[in-house]
């Protein structure tokens, strides 16, 4: 899987590259729009992570260009611009997702994985973690081959854990992922995370699944098979 990061802030690009290394992805980075245009002409990418504000123009240009030439390439816009208008403009040009800065790397990872899964694993789309199998297209979960019925939020939570396994997910990151801007981080929303997590854990255990959800005290959770 090959990713191109088009970002003028080198430190942000470096962080993304370091973080995604663990995901066995090939990652390249360019700073300017001109370089980005050259790279997409020369190489083929599975996904582009594009910042809008580039030193020599708007990243939206590259979104349009890549969608015209290589419509199968996934595009995620990362931008500080957070208005609905900005998001709509980006998505209308063909971007698959829009992530507002500052974002969590685990969230970016989840979004990239979603896009890659949709684009690359056509037809055979499943995720496995020991006895757990997730079919993202149909939102179905199987434990040891038996279907486990989850609510929408429990499924989203499990999926988020699966794409970010062995990583610490803070409660705030989970709130952001599950509800975005709807409720924001508050004592209530952290309680809601806990409630959904408790129910998910209970359901997994009830069908004989091991408890992979580790509590990281005072911070959040980690999905891991290491005890």
């Amino acid at each position: 899987m090959k990713i191109l990061i088009i970002e003028d802030e080198v430190e942000i690009a470096k962080s993304i590259m370091t973080f995604l290394k663990k995901e066995a992805m090939t990652i390249e980075h360019v700073i300017t729009l001109k370089d980005a245009k050259d790279y997409i002409q020369m190489y083929e990418y599975d996904c582009l992570v594009v910042d809008i504000a580039l030193p020599d123009g708007s990243g939206l240009e590259i979104v349009k260009e890549i969608k015209d030439s290589y419509p199968d390439t996934g595009v995620i816009i990362v931008s500080a611009k957070d208005t609905l208008e900005d998001r709509v403009r980006g998505l209308e040009l063909g971007a698959d997702d829009y992530l507002v800065k500052p974002f969590h790397l685990v969230e970016l990872n989840a979004r990239i994985r979603s896009i890659l899964r949709r684009r690359l694993q056509k037809g055979v789309n499943e995720m496995r973690f020991n006895e757990i199998t997730v079919l993202p297209d149909s939102h179905k979960v199987f434990v040891n081959g038996n279907e486990l019925i989850l609510t929408k939020k429990e499924y989203a939570l499990l999926y988020y854990f699966m794409v970010n396994k062995e990583r610490i997910l803070s409660k705030e990151t989970i709130v952001d992922h599950l509800w975005g801007d709807t409720i924001g981080i508050s004592a209530d929303s952290l309680d809601f995370v806990y409630t959904h997590l408790r129910n998910l854990r209970k359901k997994l255990l009830s069908v004989g699944c091991s408890d992979y959800i580790r509590t990281v005290y005072g911070v959040g959770y980690k999905f891991s098979d290491e005890s």
Partner: protein, 424 residues
């Protein structure tokens, strides 16, 4: 009503009043001058008569006095001692013309051969009716001429002077601070209009420039703030990855993460407030609030259930109002989020009532009541560290921009938030 019509109407009224006053004044002056002239003539007749009577020692007749026949009358009387010369107006029926004729009379005593006579000399004058008719006729003619002048002037003003004003008004109607068009000054043949247009165009271009700068400023601030926050957050994410086994470090990194979230949220909320106040949201459409509230209720239902809150929605009528759709979503989200956040945990209730001109959101409330205006920036309950204190300021700013009124009050253990159409 058009300015030219107002101008014509007031010109007509003013001209009419002036004409009536002029006519009255002229009539009074004319009458007084005519009387004065008549009185002088009659006085001359009197002097002549007295002179001739003294010379001849007898009464003289009208022919001797040189006046028309029948216009000199003597009447013998017994003097009382207080007889004086008097002037009067009188009318006499004229058989030939079958009309009354107006006369000015002088009455004075004459003594001839020890007999006292009261002498009356009549002088034909213009009748009051005739005088009034002449005055009215004259002024009607003047009035009509003035009307003609006003109508012609109106036509002239409409074509020559009003046309540039009309064009200017059309330009004003199309002017927008959101537009990137540079407004050009169109020179008019009327100096004052030219000056007005020039001043307006300069003002408009200045406003546009300031608006653009302000927009750029908010975009730059967002970018310049969010970029370092993104770097910090991503580095913390990496540190969390690297120190997964060191619980103390993880805890410290988590605290940093939480505070980066807070700064980011503050920044985004402040920028949203700035954009609203700068009127950067101007895509107003007619929205049926009922539908959006229903959707928001469904969205929040999950949270209400998790928090054991009883939520009810009562729709008595459709609340339809013009508002930017994105702002409406933010407005409702902030209100619902606020209501949920401050609803008591035990037997919590949130009730929404929609009327034609008013929406009330009531929630059971237990906690510190913030002092001062709830809609002021950074006013929040002291017990809520997770609030930015900007939520209701944003609601107020959206309401102000969308011509809505918002207010909040406490009654017993309930907090009532009301949205009302302005002027309802």
């Amino acid at each position: 009503m058009k300015l030219s019509k107002i101008y014509s109407r007031y010109s007509f009224l003013a001209t009419f009043i002036v004409i009536v006053l002029c006519a009255l004044t002229q009539y009074i002056i004319f009458e007084s001058l005519a009387n004065k002239t008549s009185d002088e003539t009659l006085t001359d007749y009197k002097k002549n008569l007295l002179k001739m009577v003294a010379q001849k020692g007898r009464l003289v007749d009208d022919v001797e006095l040189g006046i028309k026949k029948g216009r000199l009358i003597y009447k013998q009387y017994l003097p009382a001692g207080n007889e004086r010369t008097q002037f009067n107006d009188t009318t006499i029926w004229h058989h030939k013309t079958q009309r009354y004729r107006s006369f000015r009379t002088i009455t004075f005593p004459v003594k001839v051969q020890d007999k006292d006579y009261l002498t009356v000399i009549l002088l034909r004058t213009m009748g009051k009716k005739d005088m009034m008719f002449a005055t009215i006729f004259t002024f009607i003619c003047i009035f009509l001429l003035l009307m003609l002048y006003i109508i012609l002037m109106r036509g002239f003003i409409t074509t020559k002077i009003w046309k540039p004003i009309k064009r200017f008004i059309d330009e004003l109607g199309q002017a927008s601070i959101h537009s990137d068009i540079k407004y050009e000054f169109t020179k008019s043949s009327v100096d004052e209009i030219s000056q007005l247009e020039k001043a307006f165009m300069q003002m408009m271009n200045r406003i546009q420039r300031d608006f653009r700068k302000s927009k750029e400023w908010s975009e730059n601030v967002t970018h310049e703030m969010q970029t370092p926050l993104t770097i910090m957050r991503s580095k913390i994410d990496l540190l969390l990855e690297m120190h997964q086994e060191d619980s103390k470090t993880i805890e410290l990194l988590h605290i940093m993460q939480i505070n980066i979230n807070r700064i980011s949220l503050f920044n985004r909320s402040l920028m949203l407030l700035t954009r609203i106040n700068n009127q950067q949201y101007d895509n107003k459409i007619l929205c049926e609030f009922n539908r959006y509230i229903r959707e928001k209720g469904e969205e929040y239902n999950e949270f209400f259930e998790l928090k054991n809150i009883t939520y009810t929605l009562k729709e008595d009528a459709l609340f339809i109002h013009e508002i930017d759709e994105a702002l409406l979503c933010i407005l409702l989200n902030n209100i619902f989020s606020n209501a949920m956040r401050y609803t008591s945990k035990e037997n919590g209730e949130i009730a929404v009532l929609i009327e034609e001109n008013k929406i009330c959101i009531t929630n059971s409330y237990i906690g510190d009541i913030p002092e001062g205006d709830l809609f002021n920036r950074f006013n929040r309950s002291s017990s809520r560290e997770d609030s930015t204190g900007l939520g209701l300021s944003i609601v107020k700013a959206i309401a102000d921009l969308s011509e809505l009124k918002v207010y909040a009050r406490y009654t017993g253990s309930f907090f009532i938030f009301t949205i009302e159409k302005q002027g309802s």
